[in-house]
Amino acid sequence: MKIKRRYFLLGAVAVAGAGVFGVKWADGDAQRRAMATTIGDGEAGFTPWLKIASDDVVTIYSPTIDFGQGSHTALAQMAAEELDADWTKVRVEQAPALPGFANAAIIQGFANEAGGLGDKIPKSLLSLVARSMPMQLTGGSSSIRYVGQILMRKTGAAARYVLLEEAAAQLNAPVSELTTADNIVTHAASGRSLRYGEIAAAAAERSLPNTPTLKEPAAYRLIGQPVARLDIPSKVDGSAQYGIDVSLPGMRVATIMMAPVREGRLESVDEQPALAVPGVEKVVQQDDAVIVVARGYWQALKGLRSLSPRFSDAGHAALNSPAIYEAQDQLREAGNATNSAGSGDVDVHFDAPDAQIVEAQYRVPFVHHAMMEPFAMTAHHQDGKLEIWVGMQDPLSVRKIAAEAAGLSPDDVTVHPLIMGGGFGRRFPQSCQIIAQSARLAMECPWPVKLIWSREEEVRHGAYRCQSSAHLKAAIGADGAIAAWRTDYVQRDNAEMECPFNYAVPATSRRHFTYTTNQDDGPLRSVNSTQMGFYNESFIDELAHAAGQDPYAFRRAHLADGSRHQRVLDELARRSGWQSTPAPGVGRGMALVESFGTIVGQVVEASVDEGGQPHVHKVTAVVDCGSVVNPLNAEAQIQGGIIMSLSIALGEEITLENGAVVQSNFGDYPILKLADTPPLIDVHFLQSDAAMGGLGEPGVPPAAPALANAIFAATGKRIRTLPIRDQARALEA
């Protein structure tokens, strides 16, 4: 295996990122070390992300994680497209957790999107980058549009370029007379051809071009095709190995109980009852938790249940969910905003004598990710080295966090990334308590130990979507148009960077009031766009009714003529049959939200039955994400986002009582099931020239407000607080 100078391709990407962010990215050495871990005999590495074997098998190493969004397949499609690879010979693997594979493309993508940043990095943007980096890789919506567009396509194109050069040399023919298809370079004039596998080793010695020409969309053979996902066969026969499935010789299994009140501490525990349980081998006390290690999970769980640990409440005993809303109201009414944005002077319009003033207050609770696979991490400490097996969004951060917890250097920590049973933003390492727990535990054990969180711990110790509330106020002018719009919202994080306000309103104001609790507010699929979408799209519906206008016509009148947003809205009205009369008792509601570069409009048809149960009959979605790499997968992402959003809106709520989470499992934290899923979720994509937007997240935000608006249309009752569940009984029309 010989590796020479072929690192500057990514170098170029990295420098661009570094220029903006002042971050130093992987150097040639790091990439060389990275490739040394993946390139075997008979294989040629072109960059850390692409290798070709002598038998023509093309392997793509994805620097981003696929936790079910199909991003690995889509990334491979993009590299293979530019390479003119034979799709049946393409494999995709998770890149090892080494800096040489790191993901500068995502940072650069966000930098480009933000545009014109000086050398000062706004904190809010960095945190957005950090939060989106791991997630949706298809979802967080960065992996395809940034990693795919920037990294994978260039890698594929650059490799094809040097393969052509090498073939030209061997065939003694000019490159211009050569064509490539299905892993073969052909010289039509002489009838000769070479397989990629035959020339890969020599081609990989050549210098990669810095800016290889990329294909025009008209030439695509793979991008845009409904290619079957490469990971699916292993997910229908039980062979896919998730983090929780790891098994090592001599391994023990552990489970944990954390302080019920977040930030509480373990004060004392009598370990004896657990040690008396057959199979239990060890009890480990940590700052805020007690862990039981046993031969198997059941024994560990029985041991844990036999304990009566005492935990402190860290002074949060008075924290209750209703009180949080009250405190948020008071904070907002006090009027000292942390951040303000907008344009024009809303007060002038609010004070205008002919203005029609509309005000409304909305509330959304903490929401739990409820990924199907509870946290599980296996760690083994031996001779100063720590080995880790886990499924997380960002394996490099896992390494760093585990090293810190274990008191080791990151160089002494090896992370084996495994596939994940869902994430939705929960597996962002900075919020994953299990990494430090498991690393510390391993330092005290002579065996490899797999730590598994029970579902109860999972539900009670989430990094929830924040509990948030907002007061919205608008002035409608004599012409029936919105003259001024103000959103005052209270939550920990400023949402300004994430949630573009797309309606043309002469004066707007968005004021953020910072409110924190003891909870670790985390990103949940579509992040702040879930609640901001609910606020804005519920309120504009209220404004339309106040103005005596149709919600579609009213929205349309406030969107720029010929804009992408208006096009989505028009197509949505057409596809959903907006103008037709719905079935008796059924109401239609609409919402339009842009997030992660993608515009999604949805119409929900819903009714409320005599028992007060809401029913969703149909959802129509129209999506403009620029272009689509894999339509099959894109549809699945949008449908999945809609179902998650309906589930959250209808029934999901984490509440705090005396500082602790009340809910504990799927019984009191209900997830939408198949029977409650509308029989029809119609998803349509509009092609546009716009930069590629995300797909994992943007399906989520519109469904909740569209549902609330549909319930209003059906019953005349306005839902302003989520979840709908407990209010619906009072709603029957």
Binding site: S239, Q241, S247, W298, I419, G421, A636, S647
Partner: protein, 154 residues
């Protein structure tokens, strides 16, 4: 005392204590990790297997009750020749899985449903398929069941 049973056609003797949920005996004793742990309280269906041909949520099914029973897990659905079960095949054709974590359980539930009813109606599918999928693959689960039973999707 070991508990004798048949798992995927093989005679086995479970050594786990008899109150151990079958899920953990299958996963940790036999290394059959296709059945997943989701909730531990029979609320999600990720652990669904077949006992004597009928679905069981193995997280609440003690090893003691497995004595003498015929148990099938997702790993045992393939034919002896290694061919996928038609329901597994339909799952691939309909491109159902996203994260995939719930899908062993979903497939086992669907196999039982089809074995019992032949061509289930949409209402029967709604009633029988109560396993949770957080990724929201329900539309494709419906489509795959219809496909596996030669019924046209609506």
């Amino acid at each position: 005392m070991p508990v004798a049973a048949t798992v995927n056609g093989q005679a086995v003797a479970f050594e786990s204590e008899t109150d151990t949920p079958l899920l953990w005996a299958l996963r940790e004793e036999l290394g059959l990790t296709g059945a997943k742990f989701g909730c531990g309280v029979s609320a999600c269906g990720a652990c669904t297997i077949h006992v004597d041909g009928r679905t069981v949520r193995s997280c609440v099914f003690p090893v003691s009750q497995a004595a003498g029973k015929t148990i099938t897990t997702i790993e045992g659905l393939k034919s002896n020749e290694g061919e996928l079960h038609p329901v597994q095949q339909a799952w691939i054709e309909a491109q159902v899985p996203q994260c995939g974590y719930c899908q062993s359980g979903q497939i086992m539930a669907a196999v039982d449903l089809i074995a019992r009813l032949g061509k289930p109606t949409p209402a029967q599918i709604d009633e029988a398929m109560t396993n949770i999928c957080r990724c929201g693959t329900y539309p494709r689960i419906r489509a795959a069941i219809l496909r596996a039973t030669d019924q046209a999707a609506e």
